[in-house]
Amino acid sequence: MSVFVFAEHKGGSFKKSTFEVVSYAKKIADMAGVELVAGVIGKVSDAEMAQLAQYGANRAMRDQQPDLETFRTRTYADALTQMAENVAANVIVFSDNFMGRGIAPRMSVKLKAALATSVVDVPKSVSPMTVKRKSFSGKAFSIVKANTPVSILSLVPNAFGVVEKPAAGFATTDFASKLRASDLAVQVEAAETVAGTMPVSEAEILVSAGRGLKSPDNWGMIEEMSQLLGPGCTTCCSRPVSDLGWRPHHEHVGQTGHVVAPNLYFAIGISGAIQHLAGVSGSKVIVAINTDPEAPFFKAADYGIVGDAFEVVPKLNKALKDFMSKQ
């Protein structure tokens, strides 16, 4: 019996969302009174692996076969299933992101294990697994129960937070899973990295702007604000803005774009259509800045400034700059 967590890395370094999901998995392992095993795919140094112990991993398994360098959903699911079976996992935990969303449903089928995605809280019960998840695109939550002895959860980034809980005696075992050659036909033809960009779904702080900005040329102050708020922050936008082509589609937040749950969400010049509000309802704190005191966003916000973005945002940027320089 164990809890098994997929510890994702990027170019050999673990991400913050990985430490968060390890922290969360540790909490479940403690509830169940079992050990926590982390599964790692790809080239990660022993020193980096040891970081997983800080957040409670008792041990880790690492598969470094060259065929795993490219992310192929089926191959990764094959490898992680073999690891999870090897440690007799009864709970398997992923971060609710690109990789997790691809791999977890396949493992659900392979292991006949109920899968709850978009999980936002610690389980109410581990056996049977009962847990709260987002549904209706942010408009509601559901409490779901697994009808199977093994369950899989994927945790919404920022829903639990990173919690240090050092485990003693951590060790990494190298593991060579049996892979099928046929998947190698799926190949990456081209790759481009956008250096230093935090994905919208994982950001801790989001600076979001809408049609109130009037033109794509006015995003400079929004980007400046995002930079002032640090590497955990990125920019995003409302649907009309991405539909107009002012901003790229991957920045669209709302019911049919990203459903987000940052610690802090700035809504600048966005009126607050029901579809947009649904997409941001998981945010811990919302600040709305709008010229219209009747804008629906103020009903969903914790803090509000009634005023013109072109007047308020530059002042706010200056205040943030002063504040950050004192931290």
Binding site: R72, F98, R106, S135, F141, T256, V287, Y303, V312
Partner: protein, 248 residues
């Protein structure tokens, strides 16, 4: 000729107010308008675009649902799908739905299976990958673009601050997300007439397990009210975010 299966769901319109009944154990369907799942609609639209751009395709659209979903299925035909299938089952958990789709698709030689990343009501983000696993074919979910070149599928995916273009032989499954297509297609009158004449093939459900059950629903807690800060006191806002909300 490429044989394509597009799996669509039917969901409450995105403007719907969500309410529950029977002690928050059931979704209240009163006054709810149903539409094709927005991501499924984008997936279908993109496939039609690829076909129109010159890849010969035979497109079958399939839905798991009761007879009330037939208008949604007809809309898919009206915009250009060749065949329509309804699997007569109540779509409950993702594994059950994927099992129905797999039982239908097995042995029919679909080269490409396409769907939206998730239904916008239960947001499982599971059915596409589960179906691919049940059919034992490779896949990409949350894809942002697809093309067909020389019989191979070319897919773009955005993963954690980067973008990759992946090329894969068929059979393959792709689940599309935002950006897969830009605007959904609006059916033309000719398409609507055509859709009326196209029979929807009804397939009986197969026995399958329910791995996950919804016990109850909750609405998000109401906000306690917005604290307004005068526009010339932005320092005060920064102070509140730091000291009161503790998010800076």
């Amino acid at each position: 000729m490429m044989k394509v299966l597009v799996c669509i769901s039917q969901v409450p319109d995105t403007t719907s107010k969500v309410r529950f009944k029977e002690g928050n154990t059931q979704f209240d369907t009163a006054d709810i308008q149903y539409v094709m799942g927005p991501y499924d609609e984008l997936a279908l639209t993109r496939i039609l675009e690829v076909r129109d751009a010159g890849t010969p395709m035979e497109i079958t659209v399939v839905n798991v649902g009761d007879a009330s979903t037939e208008n949604t299925i007809r809309k898919a035909v009206a915009v250009g799908a060749n065949h329509a299938v309804r699997i007569d089952a109540k779509p409950t958990d993702a594994f059950y739905v994927a099992s129905q789709l797999a039982a239908f698709a097995k042995g029919q030689g679909f080269d490409l299976i396409v769907t939206g990343k998730e239904a916008s009501d239960y947001n499982g983000n599971q059915v596409g990958e589960m179906l691919a696993e049940l059919l034992d074919i490779p896949s990409i979910s949350n894809a942002s673009h697809i093309e067909v070149k020389g019989g191979k599928v070319v897919v773009e995916r955005e993963m954690g601050g980067g973008k990759e273009t992946v090329i894969a032989p068929t059979p393959f499954m792709v689940a599309g997300q935002k950006g897969f297509a830009i605007e959904p297609r609006i059916p033309a009158m000719r398409g609507i007439m055509q859709a009326r004449k196209t029979p929807i093939k009804v397939v009986p459900a197969v026995p399958a397990e329910h791995l996950l059950t919804v016990e109850s629903y909750e609405l998000p807690p109401a906000k306690s009210g917005c604290k307004f800060v005068p526009k010339d006191q932005v320092d005060e806002l920064v102070r509140l975010l730091h000291e009161e909300a503790k998010v800076l």
